[in-house]
Symmetry: C2
Subunit: 133 residues, 2 copies
DNA sequence: CGGTATCCCGAGGGATACTG
DNA sequence: CAGTATCCCTCGGGATACCG
């Protein structure tokens, strides 16, 4: 069994409300997932709870600023939880909430597709760029 | 059977190459899918071939400029094909290539998730925002 | 350690006007 | 009709410095 829905039918529904950004899940949810760091952080947390600086090390080129902000957005959406341990140097741990874990499978499906077709896409890009004399 | 892959294992692989943007499918493929208009256009084309202005009407708030650009990127990646009919007023038709159609299922899975949890996410956002006194 | 607070730049993307 | 060409401006996000 699949989770597949009829995209064309859904699109028709959303068109009926003018593709309003707050009512259309594509725009209200996927726009968040589609930002520069969100999926990377969710995947990093798939293996278990991680501390702030551990995440920062696992994703080398994210700045503390964007890590903080993206984690906060994920917490706001209920995808992750944040636990503060009142140790002398404070320590904060992030982990996937049930909602966040439920995202892993759909995400894995999409990333599986990306991986399988990555080479093909890169080839297509090369051909396209070469054809522009 | 599922297309699911082990995200944690994959993440470890990608970390090994420093999450390099050109080698990591998350960054090289999903960043494109995650832009403002790509998924919307793919879904609009799920129902069949569409002409430029038809797409423009179906997605009301996209500009011709961004529609052109996003369609070109999709063509470059091999997800859609472009057919020009040499009529008196030129007419151009876009449709999903096999590669693009193969994306529909993974996309439907993710959008299905978004739809099922949209209300829950909006609630979480409200609670979070309210808790910031 | 786990953030905030600033400053700042470049790209994404809207509006408008023109063209084959 | 299906774009291109400009102009312009917002804002995502990097760099740096500071704080409890």
């Amino acid at each position: 069994m699949t989770d597949s829905i009829d995209l064309s039918a859904k699109f028709a529904d959303w068109q009926a409300v003018g593709l309003d950004a707050t009512q259309c899940p594509i725009r209200d949810v996927l726009d968040q997932l589609g930002d520069k760091w969100t999926t990377l952080i969710v995947i990093a947390l798939a293996a278990g709870a991680r501390r702030f600086s551990a995440l920062n090390r696992q994703i080398p080129d994210i700045s503390k600023r964007m890590l903080t902000q993206t984690l906060r957005d994920l917490e706001r959406d209920g995808l992750i939880t944040r636990h503060v341990f009142p140790t002398k140097p404070p320590s904060v741990e992030y982990q996937l909430a049930p909602l966040g874990r439920s995202l892993l499978d759909p995400l894995a499906t999409l990333i599986g597709w990306s991986e399988r077709h990555h080479a093909e896409i890169k080839q297509s890009r090369s051909r396209f760029d070469a054809s522009i004399d």
